[in-house]
């Protein structure tokens, strides 16, 4: 798991590559939190290079999103690959997390 954080035109993009599973979610969380804890940020999680997500890792996505919303911002997931999309669909989280 690797994250790259870029900021452009008021949108902060966190690109995640590799795998988000039980072993790596905590690292992902601590890397993303400095961004999501800011007030009123618009965050996009770019999953172009994310190969796999475990359902446990979804919990982190949700609490990150709740954190951002509490600060008056938005958090959406973009460029979801089919294997990861399946997990989002299975758990019914596509609607709330994935950007149209």
């Amino acid at each position: 798991m690797k994250t790259t954080i870029t900021e452009k035109e008021g949108i902060i993009t966190i690109a995640v590559s590799g795998e988000l599973d039980t072993d790596t979610t905590q690292a992902f969380r601590s890397e993303a939190e400095p961004v999501t804890q800011r007030k009123g940020v618009n965050v996009e999680l770019d999953f172009t290079e994310l190969e796999y997500i475990s359902s446990k890792a979804l919990r982190v996505l949700i609490s990150l999103q709740q954190q951002v919303i509490a600060g008056g911002g938005t958090l959406k997931v973009t460029n979801v690959q089919p294997a990861v999309q399946e997990v989002f669909d299975m758990t019914g989280l596509s609607a709330s997390l994935i950007k149209d």
Partner: protein, 444 residues
């Protein structure tokens, strides 16, 4: 704490010693090592210094005659053991002679133990000008040096006074000895009065945490169904392989007269909190099902129950179903749980949210017509997300392939055990990374 990790995994635990006993044992070993190092260092340097500094430059005496009897002469087991030495020595002045009589030392250096000191017990002066004496290897007053000849017998070379020769060295080495003793005492006291209590409390904390986990583990085992022999019209079996650090996999099943109720779920997160949540859900679902509540309503209630405790950041994937044993119609409700396999095909279902995130989310139920002989496999993501040594996932495809190749007529128990076996051989040397729960149902 690192040290307690080591000690905890160390043999001491297996020997069933308390921490104090273990530390005492280590201190005794440490004391023996320190003592040994001190003893041999003193012996080594003492001998060498004497040999170097004093042997050649003595001009205060003349050796008139000498004789030594060793173990070799007597046929002892240890042939080199020094037994007796006699010497006739002429001192060049009276003072030296007198001093020798009081506490003479003969230092021995056979070829195989250069510098070794042998104290002698008794030395007898005979005349004013010279004397002979008998030296026994015993006591602590005197030392002997023999210089090696090419072969036996050894020749007695010099007779020195212990204090006269060794004054400075003796002092240095005495200081060294006390220093070593001091180091040992400091380490021993520090270990005993500071480290031991720290280790003990860290052990106690660890023990408490383990006890807590054991309680949670028992809860998890007790929360799931164990009685699968409920109705002759269907067969059901389930297996749970929980991780040591306690997870939240759950399954329940039971007959409600004309209906079979079954559910499988996975409370996210590990640890005691997840196990308690799972235990609570299991009791709640059990009693609500018996009260005849419908699945969509029940799912909403479960959802609100989890949402009440947002600080735990928990959620739960849950699949619940009824099978009507007359019509064989299955009604099910799925909150984001893994896809159930029916006769080797994945159940088509509407995606619905996992429970515990949105308090007012509304779930709906779906229906499916089953047939006699139909087989269902429910599982948690510990199955599909099992990893082998190269970190490849077991995945849905392998699971589906496994189910398709199961021979007809096997019992649900055999199926569960075979799947667990398949997963174990898939993992190989990789460790189980999540709870695994499997439920197999067959309609007769």
């Amino acid at each position: 704490m690192f040290l307690s990790e080591i000690l905890h995994n160390f043999e001491l635990v297996k020997l069933n010693l308390t921490i104090r006993q273990g530390i005492l044992l280590l201190l005794i070993v440490f004391g023996l090592i320190t003592g040994g190092v001190t003893y041999f260092t003193v012996r080594y340097f003492w001998g060498l210094d004497v040999e170097k500094e004093y042997l050649d430059d003595r001009d205060d005496m003349v050796i008139l005659a000498s004789q030594i009897e060793t173990g070799l002469d007597r046929g002892d087991e240890d042939p080199f053991r020094f037994v007796e030495a006699t010497a006739l020595i002429q001192a060049k002045d009276e003072n030296f002679s007198y001093m020798l009589r009081d506490s003479a030392g003969i230092v021995v250096s056979p070829p195989f133990m250069a510098g070794k000191k042998i104290p002698i017990k008794h030395f007898e002066a005979r005349t004013k000008d010279g004397f002979g004496g008998m030296a026994r290897v015993w006591g602590y007053d005197c030392f002997v040096i023999f210089y090696p000849l090419s072969h036996h017998p050894y020749e007695l070379v010099a007779v020195y006074d212990y204090n006269y020769v060794f004054g400075d060295e003796a002092r240095t080495l005495r200081v060294f000895t006390f220093l070593m003793l001091g180091i040992f005492l400091a380490v021993a006291l520090l270990t005993w009065f500071w480290l031991t209590p720290v280790l003990e409390s860290s052990f106690a904390r660890r023990q408490r945490a383990e006890d807590e986990l054991r309680v949670a583990h028992d809860l998890q085992q007790k929360a799931v169904t164990h009685d699968f022999d409920v109705d002759p019209r269907f067969e059901i079996h389930a297996e749970l392989r929980a991780m040591k650090d306690v997870g939240g996999d759950i399954y329940l099943c039971g007959s409600l007269g004309e209906k079979l109720f079954f559910t499988i779920g996975d409370v996210s997160d590990k640890g005691t909190a997840a196990a308690f949540m799972m235990f609570m859900l299991s009791s709640f679902i059990r009693s609500r099902v018996q009260e005849g509540v419908s699945l969509d309503v029940l799912m909403g209630e479960v959802n609100r129950l989890i949402c009440k405790n947002p600080e735990y950041e928990m959620f739960c994937t849950l699949f619940m179903g009824f099978i009507d044993l007359d019509t064989l119609e299955m009604e099910f409700c799925n909150a984001g749980h893994t896809r159930t396999l029916i006769d080797g095909e994945f159940l088509a279902q509407d995606p619905q949210l996992i429970a515990g995130i949105v308090p007012d989310y509304v779930w709906h139920t779906q229906k499916l017509q089953l047939h006699h002989g139909a087989g269902l496999l429910l599982y948690t993501d510990g199955v599909t997300e099992a990893r082998d040594e190269s970190r490849a996932l077991f995945g849905e495809a392998r699971l589906q392939a496994w189910m398709k190749q199961r021979p007809a007529g096997t019992s649900c128990r055999e199926d569960c055990e075979d799947l667990l076996q398949t997963l174990a051989s898939f993992r190989g040397k990789a460790k189980q990374n999540d709870d695994i729960a499997i439920m197999s149902i067959k309609i007769k």
